[in-house]
Symmetry: C5
Subunit: 368 residues, 5 copies
């Protein structure tokens, strides 16, 4: 049930001081495949043509008339292919570097002729740090670059294919919104899983405090930090897109972008709430532990305090003084000496029990 531990150390692959725009090979990167979808009212094929495993250089053959092209590059191993795509659409060298360096902070940057957006996409079953998606939005085209196969854009592709909703009638900016919104929506199930884990801990930490819960809590707080690091700048970039009067986002798409922004704000809200609850749970754990310790110590103290004086009395009458001398332990020779000793012990025990009772130590085990 525990998801893979998120990476804390994000290795920047380029050596310090190398020229910007230089692409450094990443041996763990996935193989590159390119797919493209073109759509629009005036296009052939019921307004949509889709190709997979397209050669980067063949992209220009996609009919550009009157429609929107979405080129989706998956896997970042083949730098030549990425460079080819980038060259074809005139990307800035820094944008290309950011695409291949997968530890970018989510951001939106305006270059001449295109808008460059980086964000992270999570998956309910994958690691909590997700994968980096770079998106470039031009006048009538959208490029996306993903780290690995498998994404949350499939519903958008389906909507495009089936012509559902308004997506086929709108421009590149609406497609960009749709993809961003799909990525944002992908965070909700991840947070839900965490919320459930927290609720489970909330119950168990009180009834049965256990060291492993602290570990669990630490991992949840850590994952929430990782998520916050992805969501906070995502919110910022959406807010910046809304405020900026960039030519790329049309007035029609603006309310939808605002809706996506609201969702990002809501995500941050949930993350912060979860973090506060998780912190509170640690306090609950510590006070549960402290209450348990008190309880344990009370048991020890009561037992020791009652039996130590009684044992002392018993030891006393176990001494071997010569009782032929009249002042040496005359009690031993009394006919009811044993009863006398037992009575003393019983009196001690009773007095102490009464004292503990009065102090409230013989409680109901509620641990105070």
């Amino acid at each position: 049930m525990r998801r893979k531990k998120s990476r804390l150390v994000l290795r920047k692959r380029a050596a310090p001081g190398t020229a910007p725009g230089l692409l450094v090979a990443d041996p763990t990167a996935a193989a590159t495949t390119v797919a493209a979808i073109g759509y629009g009212p005036d296009r052939p094929g019921q307004g949509l043509d889709e190709v997979r495993n397209v050669e980067p250089t063949a992209l220009s053959k996609l009919d550009p008339r009157g429609g929107v092209r979405w080129v989706d590059v998956v896997g970042l191993a083949d730098h030549a292919a990425i460079q080819a795509v980038a060259a074809q659409f005139g990307l800035h060298p820094l944008a290309v570097e950011d695409i291949t360096n997968t530890h970018q902070r989510p951001k939106a940057e305006v270059y001449e002729g295109h808008l460059f957006i980086v964000f992270r996409m999570v998956n309910a079953n994958g690691p909590v740090e997700g994968e980096q998606v770079s998106m470039v939005v031009g006048r009538n085209w959208v490029l996306t670059f993903q780290e690995r196969p498998g994404d949350c854009f499939e519903p958008v592709r389906e909507r495009l294919r089936q012509g559902r909703g308004r997506i086929r009638q709108t421009g590149a900016d609406y497609l960009a919104y749709a993809l961003l919104d799909a990525a944002i929506d992908g965070y909700f199930p991840v947070l839900e899983t965490m919320g459930e884990a927290i609720e489970t801990l909330e119950d168990s930490v009180v009834t049965d405090p256990d060291r492993r819960q602290v570990e669990e809590l630490h991992h949840i707080k850590r994952d929430l930090l990782v998520l916050r690091r992805a969501i906070w700048p995502l919110r910022e970039l959406l807010g910046a897109l809304l405020r900026d009067e960039t030519s790329v986002v049309t007035a029609t798409t603006r309310p939808y972008l605002r809706d996506a922004y609201d969702h990002a704000v809501q995500l941050m809200d949930i993350v912060e709430t979860y973090r506060e609850i998780a912190s509170g749970l640690l306090d609950v754990y510590l006070s549960s532990q402290s209450a348990r310790l008190n309880e344990v110590m009370k048991v020890l103290t009561i037992i020791a305090t009652i039996f130590m004086p009684m044992s002392f009395v018993a030891s006393l009458y176990g001494m071997n003084f010569d009782t032929t001398h009249p002042f040496n332990m005359p009690e031993l020779g009394w006919p009811f000496g044993y009863a006398f000793a037992l009575a003393i012990m019983a009196a001690i025990a009773t007095a102490l029990l009464w004292w503990f009772k009065r102090k409230g130590w013989l409680g109901d085990g509620k641990g105070g």
Copy 2:
């Protein structure tokens, strides 16, 4: 006395990536009923006509001349009815989606021709997360959409019916204010209940620290987080309405809106104060526990420290060395050997008690 535990996990019902504006059926939603009130100086029926269980399509028959219409939709199960109402008043598809998706963050959004406001309404007896109310304010109409029957708008309806105050003479914006203000007022009793719970804990946590108080405190802090998540954006949206020169809010209504804003600020103040006091109480609890533990350990230490040496002396004279040898435990043969042993024990006890006294351990049980 404990209210129902608030939900931490807010399930977003639409699958990630679905088209915006798409309404997803919620099997737990309450059945939809529509009520409408029209009023204004020029209207028939002493300036007010009210209908209940009106057909959505029949809304247009309400006489729109020179007055204000308030359409109140309760229960979000019947999407067709909601769509019908929305169509009639020209709502934006995103607004309609937000109405039916009941996990919105409170917000105000300006669409062409109408203002869309979402907030949460709590009830002193219900769950602390309350229910979502969506309100759309047009030039001379107000729509409200509630999750469940039962609301805090009844006093507003009464004021409309009886023509008390200025409400019948004013426009749609004043009605919107009145409804918002009623919802804000509804938070005060909820917070009062919490304040009382905190005051009760304040007394008991000192006199009788108990593990269950930590649980109680955790639940209060959690509920305060839930309330803050509802009130903070509510304050923000009221502030935005005040700052924005939207055509919807008239100059006459503005001071009233500012008053509502002040109340929201006051709510946030109270929530923050309660949160700080609750956090402080946890510290008081922990230090009470720690003081108790010290007290328990002092009792144990005093008893053990006094009786261990005494018991040792008793054990010593319980040894069975052959006393026929003159150096083997000659004390046993002394005529006052027993008195000698008792005197040693008494001396040990007295010395230790004096030492404890000097250290201040034989205190007044105040737990220091």
Copy 3:
């Protein structure tokens, strides 16, 4: 010495949803009396006429020529009188509601023709939440509404009567400033008392940690929260008055208002410093407790660790094995068996004491 515990729950008396501007009777409100002072260079009676227990309706008889009128209403029980005063000076209904509802957050609001200010006035001997004062400032009049008899305005009245300072030569805005400044000055003695309490705790928490100090600290932190809730918005409202180019505040009065603002900032500074010191004291308390526990446990451990092995040896030679068998406890028959046993015990005690010494446990009782 402990002041009355401040109220956490502020009851809002009007039921949720009632019309704004509606006054709700408060059975605990003090009886209403009205006093008035008129002054100015051109006025009769050496430029000052003062009346007490004036009928609200008789206020108009006060000569308004060329001077300033200050009407002081004390006690909020008589709504009719308050309404009469309000009507005479043309107050906004919302201002009247705020005057009688004594749980307002301090604020300043500009209505047409008058400035409405609410703040709280504390008293060194009274409860820390003080009482609400509402002040309305017009072109040449000032109204004040207080909850209870007794205020900190007497020195202002004296200055008016004796014509000391510039107060008799200036306008209504300067009088408003003088009253605000008197209220702000009233916070300093209250904070001084708290500062003294904190300094007392600072000494005692280290020398003699005691559970009651935590309670005391909790009450101080709570009172500081209550004060902050009064002072923070007071500072805000003064800042807003300074920034706003309201016609009410003249250029001559502005530097004085800035001075009052500086005092409010200083108050906030002190409150925040006290809060941090109080939080720090709790840490000192907890670490003192923890050090004490360590000391107690060390005593117990040392005593138990020394006497347990010694008692064991004594018990060993108290066994009753049949010594006629040569291997059964031959020590008992040795001529120096007793000395041998004592030597073993002494050796054990010495070795352990040396070990404790080396570990630094036989310290100087400094509790580390």
Copy 4:
């Protein structure tokens, strides 16, 4: 080595409600002396004339032609002299009140014709709250008012006397900067002393946790709060001077003022860093204490757990049952009964030691 404890309670001497601008006698104020320096290219005496113990009324005799006058008033007891100086330079009454009331928050205020600045000056050997310095900057004069003799302006006087640097060629604003900068520089040695105290604690708190370190830490945190209360508004006032286009600060002096501002920012940086490290040290202390307690308890537990069963066995064979009955303690009569008993005890001890070993409790004393 410990500096005097800083005062927490700042007594405001004027009674609440007294007129602004009223000077209240402070019996503890130092006697007033006035010194003056005039300089400038055109002045006689090599461009500098300096007088000490000048009569306030004689100030006008200082030659004002073409130069800058610096009047330095030390000791605030003689209100008449202060008023005389103030009158001669046309100070605002509120400025005069702030000069004599020595608990001002650092601030800069623009009055007509002069700039009024209040700040605090510390001294490495004096109390950490230092003394208040009020500075008034006019077109070609600077007034300073200090609480006590002894200041950090001596190097500035030397530079004036020796004509070093640019100070003799520049205006009043540069002199004001030079004095401010000298006061700011005075904070660095104070913070250095604190930094050294913190570094000393950093070492000792780990090797030898001791209750007195918590006290020491508390005092350091308290002193840092006092310093922050002086430095934070100082930074603010310098920032405000930089932003404001006041006529007093010339373009030539502006870069120097920016430099002073940078130093104030650096001071705040250091204060905040020290505060965080001091807070962290408390955590280190608490965890050291907790580790020590664990160690102590492990020793106790190991000893008790080993000797209690062994003592029990010894007690068992110390019972006095009548061994003539064959089932009553036949072990006592066994030829190797003693060896048997010792073997049992050894077995118990060995088993427990093995168990503790496996649990890792017989560690290296590292306190885990």
Copy 5:
């Protein structure tokens, strides 16, 4: 593996109050060497000439035509050389003072004709506070001043020498960017090392809590504070450069500067994340300790609670009452008295074990 402890106390060498612009000799400063590189399309030597150990006065001989000059001064001991360089490029006296005083807060300041930037450069093997680098950027020249030999600018020099990338074709502002970017890149390996140390601690603190981990954590948090003090203002200064429309930064270089800014933001992100995780680890440590203490105390309590009553029974029958009296310890004479006593003891032990079992104390050693 532990890097050298960072210095907390930054000694400001100039005495308080000395004239600004005065250079104070630092006996520990490294010897000064000057190197220079000139490049540009029109320059001889394939567009690049590089000289080392150049005389400061000989700098003017570098051919200034149509290219960019980078003068790199390493070691700050020789003030005369620094002054000579500064004079040649017309630096402001305050800039020169900041260059030689190596405790500047990172900042960017605009002087007439040049931009002055101070930042800190770290090295994966050196101390975490790194060294100060001052950079002055003119129209076609860049000066850098470093504290010590060894820097992270070597890759930039290589790029210049080999003419790789765009660096040879661009102006002084791009060179300044390239140097800043190299310094920023240098922080990443330092943070990576810290991240690895934190990940190591994350594992060990749970499995084997140990007092030394707290020390380690304290040092990590301290180093992070030092890094934050360098990175935060670095981010600020880059942001200010981006916002300011300074003539020095050209439009072509601006996107690169924005990229450097993004990297600084990312560094701050990592620092803050690490700080939060380190704080969380302390909580994990404390709760691990607390769980361990509970476990230890449970073992002690169980053993003591079982053996104390059993030992008491044994002591009881070890008493020496005269059994000739029929009521004195008749059990001793019973034929099965021993068995009876053993049975009682077994019953006690069984009952207590059952009770502990029910309380859940005989757990799985998971430490709750």
